[in-house]
Amino acid sequence: MSPREQLRKFISDTFFVDDFQDSDSFLKNRIIDSTGMMELVAFLEATWALKLADTELKPENLDSIDNLVRFLERKQSAR
């Protein structure tokens, strides 16, 4: 499974949504709430062995499938 597919499956399984676009904002569309963001971060850290700094917890990194994929690519190429 590609990271994109893995992310979509996680979002769908954890937050019980199927009907969303890769570009949809999780927060604006209420796909994820405050505790949901914690779950997402824990999933990213566990799945790709990352550590996220507080400064990285922002919508342009985390707030849609597209943003997450771009963020992951940046993180991994920086290693």
Partner: protein, 660 residues
């Protein structure tokens, strides 16, 4: 406080025929409300109407029987609740009173003024009155909806009852969940009145009266909250506001201590109930009994505060501890009494608490609901104020940071200004929209709709809960300020549709206890509307005026503490190792699919997620779980295995051909 029920029937029948055709139906309906009035159950079959009454005797225990009839006109009344100023009203009425009851004061008031007599009532009531002079059956309900009243219009006429279950016991219609009501409840916490949870059953909206005559029903609103700028007394100083609030609250408590049985009080450990207890204790000269809920789980528990207040006020204090397992064990009865889809388990502890009160042979309690609504105590009001301030400069990077002050307990990941903007910026471009204050909450709870079964979604169709609410709002409300609109919406959705009903009346009456609500005295509500906003919500200091008034009357730890939202355990109480026996059955994939509201496969995944040992349920997960569990329990108790009144209780209803 009591239960009432009844229906219209054809005129011109002989007494014998009336009894044969309608006697058992009236008995069954009255028996279905026995928990509301265990002291006596009586019904009368009149020429044109049947009225049933289950009595919890509180005022004029010896002679205040119902149904009650006026000899001269034949006007007959069944009444649930209290008209607290009945002594003052009585003095102004020219009527040959035979009892000391408030029931007879309603009868005499109606004879003097017609249905508009309710405008002079200070109280909490639901009544039905048969006027044989023109063949009208009147229904009336108090201003904010403390007492419930449901009705159904069928081909046979009008039937009514304090709870919908009595209509089903009378076989006026078969229970069927109203898909639109379920949809509205998962967004707004309650159906939009007059819709109830059941198809064909309507709720009489608070502050309204209805006349049923010649097969026609006319519903009219007789009172509504006015929060427009014009009512605000801009010149009111803090000192004068304090004086007026003090006088109004003291009188509201004084009237609510009127009873021929002892009046006790609920004590949560928060500001509102502590203040009420202080005022009541002063008037009762030290004989007040207080009752509280404590939680085994420390994060929900407020016992330290309750004990402190009880000790300082010198009340005789009783507390009951709620374990996680209690929530699951109580929920089937909670849903049976509430007759509603729920989003929280918070009503359950109140059912256990009213049992404690009942065990202490106490029938009446004062309780603090309404203070947060009218004196601006909720975070929702602060959120609205911040959003309004931010909406004036939407691009400001600083204004959204105010949410950090508002919700310091939010996880770190939510706290960057960009995240706050995404989350709280919704609708910022339209501060004039009627739902400006509530859209974040409603969108959040509306996430429960994700769990609906596809076929159910089809049944719901294009129905939009927020639009349905907008359509019943008076046009003038839209011209009010955002905070005023927020208050109006709060009173007309959460307060009357959930806090006073599912979490209030039904949990109290489930154990035959009457709640009395001094903050919901309409004179207090109207006074609060006149007080300038900045005295109630002082920047971000909620209930400022009430705290000032409480200072010196209740212990400082109460006036100084940060507001603590009342919550009860959810996931840990309903699934996992402490799950109640019913949970596995009604939450199973097959049972959920069978009920047809939610998607069994999705619910199975949700339950698995929440039952996991390290589960950290989100707010959305918890709400969805309670919505599913309560819907399943509702379907079970009303549709699959309907609970009928016990035959012995039906037989115990005394049937009269005439009353005096």
């Amino acid at each position: 406080m009591c239960g009432i029920t009844g229906f219209t029937l054809p005129t011109g029948l002989k007494p014998r025929e009336r009894r044969d055709r309608f006697g058992e139906r009236l008995r069954a309906m009255t028996a279905a409300l026995r928990h509301r009035g265990p002291d006596a159950q009586r019904g009368v079959l009149l020429d044109g109407a049947a009225l049933g009454h289950a009595r919890l005797a509180i005022i004029d225990v010896a002679s205040g029987h119902q149904p009650m009839r006026d000899e001269a006109t034949g006007v007959t009344l069944v009444f649930n609740g209290e008209v607290f100023n009945y002594l003052e009203l009585r003095e102004r009425l020219d009527y040959p009173f035979r009892t000391r009851s408030d029931t007879e004061v309603i009868l005499a008031s109606y004879l003097a003024r017609g249905i508009d007599c309710v405008e002079a009532f200070v109280g909490q009531w639901a009544f039905a009155l048969w006027d044989p002079r023109d063949g009208s059956l009147w229904l009336s309900r108090d201003r904010v909806g403390v007492r419930p009243l449901f009705y159904a219009v069928t081909k046979d006429g009008l039937s009514f009852a304090s709870e919908a279950k009595a209509l089903f016991a009378g076989r006026w219609l078969a229970p069927r969940l109203d898909a639109r009501a379920v949809h509205e409840t998962v967004h707004l916490w309650a159906p939009v009145p007059p819709r109830s949870m059941f198809e064909g059953v309507s709720a009489l909206p608070p502050g309204s009266s209805a006349q049923y005559r010649d097969g026609l029903l006319t519903v009219r609103r007789q009172w509504d909250l006015d929060l427009s700028d014009e009512v605000v007394d801009r010149g009111m100083s803090e000192a004068r506001a304090l004086d007026e609030v003090g006088a109004a609250l003291t009188d509201a408590v004084k009237l609510r201590l009127r009873a021929d049985v002892p009046v006790a009080a609920y004590l949560s450990g928060g500001l509102d109930s502590s203040l009420l207890c202080a005022l009541a204790q002063e008037q009762l000269h030290g004989t007040l009994q207080t009752f509280s809920v404590g939680f085994a789980q420390a994060r929900y528990d407020e016992r330290a505060f309750q004990h402190e207040v009880a000790k300082a006020l010198g009340t005789a204090h009783h507390a009951v501890q709620v374990e996680d397992a209690d929530i699951g064990a109580l929920l089937p009865d909670v849903v049976w009494h509430a007759e509603q889809v729920l989003l929280r388990t918070a009503p359950a502890p109140f059912l256990k608490l009213s049992r404690l009160v009942h065990e202490h042979r106490t029938k009446v309690v004062l309780t603090g609901e309404g203070a947060d609504e009218i004196f601006l105590g909720y975070d929702l009001y602060k959120e609205t104020a911040v959003r309004q301030f931010w909406a004036r400069q939407p691009a400001s990077p600083h204004r959204p940071k105010l949410f950090k002050r508002l919700y310091p307990y939010l996880p770190l990941s939510q706290q960057s200004p960009e995240v706050l903007r995404q989350f709280y910026g919704d609708g910022l471009e339209a501060p004039g929209a009627f739902d400006f204050s509530h859209r974040i909450r409603w969108t959040n709870s509306g996430r429960v709709a994700r769990f609906f079964a596809p076929a159910f979604v089809e049944r719901v169709g294009e129905h939009d809960p927020v639009a349905a609410l907008r359509d019943v709002l008076p046009a003038r409300v839209r011209g009010w300020r955002p905070l005023a609109r927020a208050q109006y919406l709060e009173l007309h959705t959460l307060l009357s549709g959930y806090l006073l009903s599912a979490q209030g009346d039904r949990m109290l009456m489930g154990n035959s206890v009457e709640g009395r609500f001094p903050f919901l005295d309409h004179r207090v509500i109207e006074l609060a509307a006149r007080i300038p906003t900045q005295l109630k919500l002082k920047v971000l200091n909620e209930k400022y005026l009430l705290k000032r008034f409480a200072r010196g009357r209740v212990p400082a730890i109460v006036t100084e503490r940060t507001k603590f939202p009342y919550r009860a355990p959810v996931a840990e109480a309903l699934v996992g190792p402490h799950a109640p026996p019913w949970s596995r059955e009604v939450l199973s994939r097959a049972a959920v699919d069978e009920a047809g509201v939610f998607d069994g496969a999705k619910v199975e995944k949700l339950v698995a997620k929440l039952a996991a040992a390290k589960a950290q349920p989100s707010e959305a997960d918890n709400m969805a779980l309670v919505a599913v569990a309560s819907t399943q329990l509702l379907a079970d108790a009303f549709l699959s295995r309907p609970r009928a009144p016990a035959p012995a209780h039906v037989a115990a209803v005394e049937l009269l051909e005439d009353v005096r």
